[in-house]
């Protein structure tokens, strides 16, 4: 595809449920980021992959959050035992190479925990 693709676009989860959010990057993009955007806030960094290696997970809010990119392409963000405070838009972004190049964002996955 032409851009970063995310699925599902909308997810409603019951508190305590596990969710998985998928990101298909732009082909050939080495760097992949996950950001969390709460209502009324700007995006906040969660984690970074360079190919399959998760080099920075400093932004993950708790050990309920887990991300992977096993083959250096598609990435999955998993949230276990969801809580209401997890309700947010989860943005995936990718970048050709490393720093200095334009970062392209997906449309986001809107998660609502009820």
């Amino acid at each position: 595809g032409a851009g970063v693709s995310q699925s599902p676009r909308y997810k409603v989860a019951k508190r305590g449920q596990d969710v998985a959010l998928r990101c298909d990057p732009i082909s050939g993009h080495v760097s992949l980021f996950w950001y969390q955007q709460a209502l009324g806030q700007g995006p906040e960094f969660l984690t970074y992959f360079q190919n399959e290696a998760q080099l920075d997970k400093s932004g993950l809010p708790s050990d309920r959050f887990f991300a992977e990119r096993p083959e250096g392409s598609v990435s999955t963000l998993k949230i276990q035992r969801t809580q209401q405070e997890d309700s947010a838009v989860y943005l995936c972004a990718t970048q050709q190479g490393s720093s200095g190049n334009t970062i392209y964002f997906g449309e986001g996955s809107w998660l609502t925990v009820v």
Binding site: G42, Y48, I103
Partner: protein, 112 residues
């Protein structure tokens, strides 16, 4: 620690009037700053970056290190400028990767 502040959550401007969206930052290193825009029902996209020193869609932004500001300006607003605007600061993390720190955004509405 780095911080980006956008003091206005909402800004309404008449068509044809000048626009200024404010952004202030706090960063101990040499900053690299960006403006991102999100039009209705579209994804977040890069509008401009300070190192390019270019004008995109009539918008410009000048980095003022003395005032730690990176305000976005356009002399004559157009209806299609209505959108959410985010100021962002790029820095390299302790792990060597680029990270963006965003402000809370300003929703710009152009009144016809």
């Amino acid at each position: 620690a780095q911080r980006v502040t956008q003091p206005e959550k909402l800004l309404s401007v008449f068509k044809g009037a000048p626009v200024e969206l404010k952004c202030n930052y706090s960063y101990s290193g040499s900053p690299e700053l960006f403006w991102y825009v999100q039009y209705s029902r579209q994804r977040l996209q890069l509008l401009l970056r300070h190192i390019s020193r270019e004008s995109i869609k009539g918008f410009t932004a000048d980095l003022n290190k003395g005032e730690t500001s990176f305000h976005l300006k356009k002399p004559f607003a157009q209806e299609e400028d209505s959108a959410m605007y985010y100021c962002a600061l790029s820095h390299i993390s302790n792990f060597g990767n680029e990270k963006l720190t965003f402000g809370t955004g300003t929703r710009l509405t152009i009144i016809p």
